[in-house]
Symmetry: C2
Subunit: 207 residues, 2 copies
């Protein structure tokens, strides 16, 4: 059943809100009506911020992260270790890794992972550019930090094949039991991997 | 912990998205990053629709519903029964009642309900205007269709007191067991009300 709206302006706003991911028509209506309780200026600020992000967005020409300059803050920071490059799917993973405070190298944002079901092939990702970075001679180690899914594994393997003739160390995030997890409830595959890749106990004391 | 964003534009957009009701910072980031996958034109259309709604919104001078003209489509429809006025909290209830297809009268949108906890008193609502409509002589019956909460009850009683010296019938939505509900699981108060306000069976056969 199509909903009838008392105003074309309202209907238009609801249509636009409901194009956002995870926002259905009921929530879209709630968002549109909420905006009527805000000041005109507040709503204008919202609209401007959203549009300006899309219009003026820049991507770092080194790592393809979103940034405001030609080269992002991380890539242009002289204190970061440029011999270390962490390959991630998207900017959200960069933010997650930065939050750990454990990583001082650079990043390389692929912009997705290989996913034939979604029509995403290697050519849609920044893989050729990663190969160029690997060949530059500056990079000693590349760390793969993609999702532990079939698509992530496919992409990891594709990158491995592309880099195998280049003199660069290729590593991958450790898989294992998450900190705070009870062994009893860990899934078998993770538990199996954590036994195979067991770490020397005295090494963990340094962390 | 404050999240560090790689771009001021992104941070600004995330801040603005997270001001929307029910949108936390994680969802705001997801919405902001999603906009980067859309065309500039699509995002501009979104921004324009949202801002135009706020800038150009009109309220019907009769019923206070949102509309594009001076008087809304419902109030200006000659086929509707102007002797019947249904009092609702907001435009969402108008849409819900319109969707039933069971109502041919007009509406009166209060713009909220009396809620001292939220600082909303009778003066913040369109109650004085409802009294004026009741006095006009055109209205024979006013139907209260507010939430069945303490705030709704308070508002109903306030309106009842304001209208008690005016020659207009005041009615309220029937309370009872919802259609499709099992009696076993109906709450006691609703079940009690539905026994007290029982309907003549032959009347239900006409529906």
């Amino acid at each position: 059943m199509t909903q009838k709206y008392p105003s074309a302006l309202l209907e238009n706003a609801v249509n636009e809100y409901s194009k956002l991911p995870g926002i259905g028509r009921k929530t879209a209506l709630r968002l549109a009506l909420h905006s009527l309780k805000r000041t005109v200026e507040d709503v204008q600020n919202f609209g401007r911020a959203v549009v300006e992000l899309r219009e003026q967005v820049h991507y770092c020409r080194v790592c393809h992260n979103i940034c405001d300059e030609e080269v992002c803050e991380i890539c242009s920071d002289p204190r970061r270790d440029e011999s270390l490059v962490c390959v991630v799917e998207n900017i959200r993973e960069v933010m997650a890794i930065e939050n750990t405070g454990q990583y001082r190298g650079l990043y390389h944002i692929l912009g997705g992972i290989i996913s034939p079901m979604d029509g995403i092939g290697p050519g849609d990702l920044q893989i050729a550019d990663l190969v160029e970075r690997a060949k530059s001679g500056k990079v000693k180690e590349i760390i793969l930090a993609l999702s532990t899914t079939m698509e992530g594994d496919t992409t990891n393997f594709y990158i491995y094949r592309k880099l195998q003739d280049i003199d660069v160390k290729l590593s991958i995030l450790a898989r294992g039991v998450a900190i705070g997890d009870e062994i009893e409830y860990a899934d078998e595959i993770t538990l199996g991997r954590s036994i195979l890749n067991r770490t020397k106990f005295s090494d963990t004391l340094k962390l």
